[in-house]
Assembly symmetry: C2
Homo-oligomer: 360 residues x 2
């Protein structure tokens, strides 16, 4: 089986290919979307490289220059961006070069941003190796972190292709599976595409995600995201819905120190807080307990340790990109599949944080 | 008198207003193009600020936060970009903030790039204070330099408006007038709009550029640029013609150390070399001696000092953005007003460099 989505954006259309074994055909697929490519550069996450670089390299007639990216959010930094750009330039990058990212969200975000600003933009191909990257690799968001918050510096820069070989996900540790699964749950909550029901029916735990079921999950979850980013490429409207769970999530992730909590672990907690807020603010009928149970059975932490300082979290949330004129805004659910962007008072956010804080 | 051009780009249309006294109406004009602006930030070149900041600030009902940018190309650096972004974020920038650049090309390029990557893009307004900025402020090129060459890192990011008060040019030192004038001459050579004839007739020396004549010059020169960037926003084709004189120009500027030669001084020399190449390579009929005379009468240096190492210049030119697959390409003239992008052998470039090198 293999699956394909075509995603429209202001610059054209790019394919997302999902196929077991695709890693052995990388050069062919890159040259199909970038027929006038000069040099191809492979920016590879160190850990992904350890598992998959040999396979990917075997697809090339001439070995591309490889730049290894250290694991973890700390690579989404100014220093790392500068190092990567310097290495690209010193190895002869020109305007028809292609930057390909082999790795998860960190590598994709960093490499995509480097591609966006190198010579004011070169071609860019995503080769995701994590479940989380099914989300980050589609939609054209690239960027790095800033001490003031996550993803505060970056570009909208669509890839020329996303080449997804689900077989590479087999080497993922459980914690990273979980991190990606949080975004799948998010997609299931903000859309009416029936994904939540499909999950209950087919995915009791990560071991269910093999071969065709995994391709199906990736396809369905990416489809939710694709529908939204096609409607709103530059996040002027509905795209903000993808931020469901991320307002508190980003703050928890930052406050824990990048890498302390995975992105998905923090977002899972943020989704629970956002569902509490949906009840408080909109008196919404949301499947909070059901989702909490699903998260627990997939090994997620569903309460915030008391060590987190709520005032500091709130201060970080004020730097959230949805904040406007100093007013906090959250994506809440009017009901399952019906997200809405809502201004929320800091006092109510404080109450929601208490709701998700551990009792002791 | 006042003049207005409307420039189309993929994101819409932005106005270029040219008007004596416009500096006293900055806030009004910014709010006209950015009606939902939250905070406005003014990134001001230190020297421009010394002359004009009080006037510009007097146009605001509430003083915008000002970030001073040190003079000179060294501000187009990673470090300065990071400093500016940090200051913007620490002073509450959000997605509806406006970054306005008061200054010349350096400030505009740096501020525009900061606006492009801050929260993946905020509104941006150019308030040029130099003649050179008539060129750099239009067309959406933003960026910083890299040790490997000028403008190698950046974005295409169109401003929301260009607000040009020619009265601010009165404080420019002669050397900076000259630097900007080189781009006017460039526009006159690559277009058939009659600008070269107009210059011969109306602009014997900088003292001729007052009031209406200055507005007319800005309008005509910007019109040439606007016609080209509207045809080719992302430099896939004819926009490369704007690089006439810049291949050697950038190399000379970099090799002299940024700030040693002004951009325009280096470009003037680059245009002479490009006209020699046009004769050598295309047997073109170009007004080389006439332009050399015009440059001399405006105080330009028309020969390259022998201290420049041609091999080093050539190596720098290999990093030029027009280089593809290791092949140097120059914008040459088939005749006056007829530019063309042409691959040129390094040996011929070497001969052209000798042609423009001082005898002793």
């Amino acid at each position: 089986m293999s699956k394909r989505l075509d995603i429209n954006n202001s610059g054209g259309t790019y394919p997302v290919l999902i196929e077991h074994g695709l890693r052995f055909r990388i050069e062919e697929e890159i040259r199909r979307v970038c027929p006038d490519a000069t040099t191809i550069f492979l920016l590879a996450d160190e850990k992904a490289a350890a598992h998959h670089l040999d396979d990917v390299m075997s697809s090339f007639s001439a070995a591309p220059h490889v730049i290894l990216i250290p694991q973890g959010e700390s690579s989404k930094s100014f220093d790392e961006l500068e190092r990567v750009l310097t290495e690209l330039l010193e190895h002869g990058a020109d305007r028809k070069s292609v930057v390909a990212a082999l790795g998860g969200g960190v590598t994709g975000d960093l490499a995509g941003f480097a591609a966006a600003v190198l010579l004011r933009g070169v071609s860019f191909v995503q080769i995701p190796t994590t479940l989380l990257a099914h989300d980050s690799s589609v939609g054209g968001k690239t960027g790095i972190n800033h001490q003031a918050g996550k993803n505060l510096i970056g570009s909208f820069y669509a890839p020329n292709a996303v080449l997804y070989d689900p077989a590479m996900l087999a080497t993922l540790p459980e914690r990273e599976w979980r991190s990606g699964f949080a975004e799948v749950i998010k997609h299931s909550l903000i859309s009416r595409a029936g994904l939540l029901e499909w999950l209950y029916a087919h995915v009791q735990d990560p071991s269910d995600l093999q071969e065709d079921a995994l391709e199906e999950l990736l396809y369905r979850s990416i489809q939710v995201k694709a529908d939204i980013v096609q409607e709103d490429e530059f996040e002027a409207g509905v795209r903000a819905y993808l931020n469901f769970g991320h307002t508190l999530g980003h703050a928890v992730e930052a406050e824990a120190g990048y890498g302390g909590w995975t992105h998905g672990e923090a977002v899972a907690l943020g989704m629970l807080a956002a569902m509490h807020l949906s009840r408080m603010k909109l008196e919404a009928d949301v499947p909070l307990e059901k989702v909490e149970q699903l998260l627990k059975s997939h090994g997620f932490q569903t309460s915030l340790p008391r060590s987190f300082n709520h005032e500091k979290l709130l201060k970080r949330m004020m730097h959230d990109k949805k904040t406007e004129g100093g007013n906090l805004r959250f994506v809440l659910l009017k009901e399952l599949g019906e997200p809405e962007l809502v201004p929320v008072d800091p006092e109510m956010v404080e109450r929601a944080m208490k709701e998700v804080t551990a009792d002791d």
